[in-house]
């Protein structure tokens, strides 16, 4: 093969027009005057892509870890974790009785779960119940009303009850499924010498909600 022809073929392949242009000279002059000027396309885009890539990886890892944690946590284990903006451990600090109540509720709900009566993990029911009771006790109407299916009048009455029980012990007396979407939770409040039985009905709609009965004794 002829080397000269090959050399010409290189030139033909790269292009017969001159690659060196006046624009190259202009850029050289610009650089000498103001410092080296790169084409914007290559100056900005790689940096932007790097930033997007970085945050993408961080976001991806975060999502992956979150999903791994939610999968690996046993559904019926007794663990503290944040429900909405209200962590259970903060509720326990304010009223330690809720910690034991939570454990009791879990046990009752697990027994229902074993009979395939529950559509959510047992801890979900227990946590929602604790959060509901705490919202009532703390007098936060906005949060409490989001848990209560009943009209506002009923909310006021229920709230009045929970706020009146200043020093008390509370235990679960019974939990039963009474219809397709309703579970009755029997609670016993001991306030000094006084014992008050109360039933709240847990409604299994899209977000678990409650119907709070007044002091009626244990009956479903």
């Amino acid at each position: 093969m002829n080397e000269k022809q090959l050399r010409n073929a290189f030139d033909e392949y790269i292009g017969t027009r001159q690659l060196k242009t006046n624009y190259d000279k202009e850029r050289l002059n610009q650089w000498k005057e103001r410092g080296f000027v790169k084409r914007r396309r290559y100056q900005i885009v790689p940096q932007v892509l790097t930033v997007i890539l970085f945050f993408g990886i961080i976001g991806g890892l975060f999502t992956w870890f979150s999903s791994m944690n939610s999968q690996s946590a046993p559904s019926n284990s007794i663990v503290d974790y944040q429900v909405g903006n209200l962590p259970l451990y903060e509720i326990y600090e304010l009223n330690p009785k809720y910690e034991q109540l939570y454990i009791d509720l879990i046990e009752y709900f697990i027994s229902l779960d074993e009979a395939n009566f529950l559509s959510h993990p047992a801890k979900k029911y227990a946590e929602e119940t604790i959060k509901y009771l705490y919202s009532m006790e703390s007098g936060n109407k906005n949060i409490a009303s989001s848990y209560l299916v009943s009209p506002e009048e009923h909310l006021n009455q229920a709230m009045e009850f929970y706020q009146s029980v200043s020093t008390y012990e509370v235990t679960v007396t019974d939990i039963k499924r009474i219809s397709d979407n309703k579970i009755a939770i029997g609670l016993k409040f001991v306030n000094g010498d006084e014992t008050i039985h109360r039933i709240i009905h847990l409604i299994e709609n899209s977000s678990l909600q409650f119907i709070d009965t007044r002091d009626l004794g244990i009956s479903y």
Partner: protein, 177 residues
């Protein structure tokens, strides 16, 4: 020019313009064989001019000026090719460039075995491609290639041998002798 640079008869500005006018075209064509993209060639040529300007004082007449300029251009290209983000851009640009080159060349040139040979050489891995380009396009001898690439002459020879084998596989027979 060697003498000029060595004895600093001229200012750096005069020297860089001389290099631009005298060697600019062949340096740009060399850069193209590495990146195979016209727009990237423009950018890397600017980097080459900048580095050359900054290093003019370091040029020693021990090697030829052209070899020294080739070395700077090759280092600029290799730095670029090592960057992973730029690899991504290069791949994208390369696809567009090749389409453009092929259609343009088809219009103006009869495709010959030589053009196919060039295509094959430019699609070889860099370490084989560069010795073929310097040897058969730029017409450098083994010693000059060795100086430019800072690689032993024996290594250059073995790369050329291996490169030839690759081409023989593709085209059959001894195409470059």
């Amino acid at each position: 020019m060697k003498q000029r640079l060595e004895n600093s008869f001229y200012t750096k500005d005069e020297m860089i313009y001389y290099i631009f006018e005298e060697y600019g075209e062949q340096i740009k064509r060399l850069i193209f064989t590495y990146v195979k993209s016209y727009s990237q060639t423009d950018d890397l040529f600017q980097e080459f001019l900048m580095k050359t300007y900054q290093n003019l004082d370091q040029f020693q007449a021990r090697s030829s000026l052209l070899t020294w300029l080739y070395r700077i251009a090759i280092n600029v290209c290799k730095d670029f090719l090592r960057s992973p983000i730029n690899r991504l851009f290069l791949l994208n640009d390369q696809v567009k460039t090749f389409k453009k080159v092929e259609s343009a060349e088809k219009q103006y040139f009869v495709r010959t075995d030589y053009i196919e040979m060039v295509e094959a050489i430019l699609s070889m891995p860099i370490k084989y491609r560069e010795v073929f380009v310097l040897r058969f396009y730029k017409g450098l001898n083994m010693k000059e290639i060795s100086e430019t690439l800072k690689v032993d002459e024996s290594t250059i020879r073995s790369r050329i041998q291996r490169g030839r084998k690759m081409l023989r596989k593709k085209f059959g027979g001894d195409l470059i002798e």
